[in-house]
């Protein structure tokens, strides 16, 4: 029980706006274990930021309990809450560094707040700059740093108070792909080497794949599916999860070429199944072709995983045989329902 470093119980958050009540979170239960790198993924407006902000009570839940390391945060006095907040760091999409302080000054900031003597704080700041590989920019101001460098300073700042948890709200969404990869690698290292629990908010599946071991899918303020990342990648149960795991656009949009939208399946394979040419054998044995729509090799939490979207035979009887064949070979596949296709374009964020 107390292994849960973070526990949300029945958390509901409503906002009163001019246009009426907005329910951002509906009765959320969420347990995060020590050492987890827990991803929370969802489309824009799903309630991800609100959810992560209730963890350190930047957002006070309308209902429900928030526990940190077994301690009830909701109902603490401001002073007590501030003490607990020092054990939970946070990094942001927009970095949120102090523009008037240099890198060292920014990293010292949480230590000053905690009353650590100046010299000691400065020494620690310099050490942390090494950790984030930014020693030579110790005295640069944020206006003189690139986005990736700013986020590195923010990560060093987050580490300064030796936190047990780091909350990341879209930490890489303002960065280019290459910088994103390096920041994700840094966060991963922090999670693995220091055992710091991460809560990772994102709308990009790539971030989950590269950084997280657990994931929860949030839609309209509710967690619709949760579990092990590998497991969910293999067999997403809900439509929302499938949509997020599907290779973006290519399969869920109306096809440019006139391939059938019927009988599409997505298969996932790893080292254990990659040895045998199952699809090729199936085509030969059943004498019916399949269409390849998409294939990709992913690295998921360090392990290689492949996924493939193929279009089976158009007539139902052959398709059924093909599915039977795949099942017999122990291949995990998910059928893509017809109504999942073509919705992507309309629902994409503005």
């Amino acid at each position: 029980m107390s292994e849960h470093i973070i526990s949300l119980q029945g958390v509901t958050k409503e906002f009163d706006t001019k246009g009426g009540k907005v329910v951002a979170l509906k009765d959320i239960d969420l347990n995060i274990e020590k050492g987890d790198s827990y991803g929370i993924i969802g489309l824009s407006g799903a309630g991800k930021s609100t959810l992560v902000r209730t963890i350190n009570l930047l957002e006070e839940p309308t209902e429900g309990k928030v526990l940190f390391d077994g301690k009830l945060l909701t109902g603490l006095s401001a002073k007590e809450l501030n003490l607990e907040r020092r054990r939970i760091s946070m990094i942001f999409q927009q970095f949120n560094l102090l523009m008037q302080r240099d890198a060292v000054g920014n990293i010292c900031f949480p230590l000053e707040i905690a009353g650590v003597p100046k010299a000691e704080a400065a020494e620690k700041a310099r050490e942390l700059l090494k950790v984030v590989d930014l020693e030579e920019r110790a005295n640069s101001y944020p206006s003189q740093l690139s986005g990736g460098q700013k986020q590195r300073v923010a990560i060093a700042r987050a580490l300064a108070s030796d936190p047990e948890v780091i909350l990341c709200d879209e930490a890489t969404s303002a960065l280019d792909p290459k910088t994103t990869r390096s920041i994700l690698a840094l966060l991963r290292k922090i999670n693995e080497e220091r055992g710091i629990t991460l809560v990772v908010i994102t709308h990009e599946m790539e971030v989950i794949k590269q950084l997280c071991n657990k994931v929860a899918v949030i839609e309209n303020g509710e967690i619709v599916e949760r579990g092990d990342v590998q497991e969910m990648f293999r067999k997403p149960k809900t439509k929302a999860a499938r949509k997020l795991f599907f290779p973006d656009g290519q399969v869920t949009e109306k096809p440019l070429v006139r391939t059938s939208t019927k009988n599409r399946v997505r298969l996932v394979y790893d080292e254990s199944t990659a040895g045998e040419p199952i699809i090729a054998n199936m085509i030969m044995e059943l004498g019916a072709p399949v269409n390849f729509l998409y294939a990709n090799l992913d690295v998921l939490g360090g392990a290689q995983k492949g996924q493939m979207v193929i279009c089976l035979a158009e007539d139902a009887a052959t398709a059924a045989k093909q599915k039977e064949y795949l099942r017999a070979k122990g291949v995990d596949f998910t059928e893509i329902e017809e109504d999942e296709i073509d919705h992507h374009g309309e629902e994409g964020d503005a």
């Binding site: 350190n56 930047l58 401001a78 002073k79 809450l81 501030n82 003490l83 607990e84 907040r85 020092r86 939970i88 760091s89 946070m90 942001f92 927009q94 949120n96 560094l97 102090l98 523009m99 008037q100 302080r101 240099d102 900031f109 949480p110 000053e112 707040i113 905690a114 101001y141 944020p142 206006s143 108070s161 909350l167």
Partner: protein, 220 residues
């Protein structure tokens, strides 16, 4: 009037004006700065909302600010006379300047602090910073360049007030302009006084801009 008398007169007037302006500005900030900070902190999106205080203080500030300076000065002079014993001269004028200027300063400070990125304040809250820590280490520091520019504006405005106060026997350059330039009809004295005022304003503006720039780490 010979040149030497004129120079002595202008010298004394300038010193008086500077003393009134600087003391008036300083004391206005001693009152206006905390009030401006408190308006931000207790505002609807502030770090410690307090609607009743916020609305009351906001109202007081607005009422005083809506009164033209000369009328306000005439209105408060009897009270100033009661407190400090005189209704004319530099000290009475300085007192009137403060009464009129602190709400102006409070609003200037409020405007500067509004420019501070709410994300940075939120980051500090997430770190467990208390209200006073956020005020000192985030709000005032991040808004420093804007606060300094605001202070230059405040000083120049208060300089203008002090010159107006001269028409009511308040001393300083305004007094000279009225007594010699206007009543004794010496337009040359009038224009020289105006020139000195213009130069003073230029210097203050220049100091403000330079200082704000030098103390802004976003630029260099």
């Amino acid at each position: 009037m010979d040149a030497q008398t004129l120079i002595r007169l202008l010298g004394e007037g300038t010193v008086q004006t500077l003393i009134m302006t600087l003391v008036g500005t300083l004391v206005s900030y001693l009152i206006g700065l905390p009030v401006g900070v408190s308006l931000i902190v207790t505002g609807p999106n502030g770090i410690k909302p307090a609607p009743l205080y916020n609305r009351t203080m906001g109202f007081i500030v607005n009422v005083i600010r809506s009164m033209p300076f000369l009328i306000l000065m005439i209105a408060v002079m009897p009270y100033i006379r009661k407190v400090i014993g005189t209704g004319i001269g530099t000290s009475a004028t300085t007192a009137a300047l403060i009464v009129a200027a602190w709400p102006f300063v409070a609003r200037l400070v409020e405007q500067s602090l509004l420019e501070v990125d709410s994300g940075v304040i939120e980051a500090a809250q997430a770190m467990g910073a208390g209200t006073m820590q956020i005020v000192r280490k985030v709000l005032l520091l991040e808004a420093r360049p804007s606060l300094i520019n605001g202070a230059a504006v405040a000083t120049i405005t208060i300089l203008g007030y002090s010159a107006m106060a001269g028409t009511l026997g308040g001393g300083g350059l305004g007094d000279i302009a009225i007594r010699f330039g206007h009543y004794r009809f010496q337009p040359d004295v009038m224009w020289i006084t105006i020139l000195v005022l213009v130069v003073l304003v230029q210097i203050m503006q220049e100091i403000g801009v330079k200082l704000a720039g030098r103390l802004d780490n976003r630029l260099n």
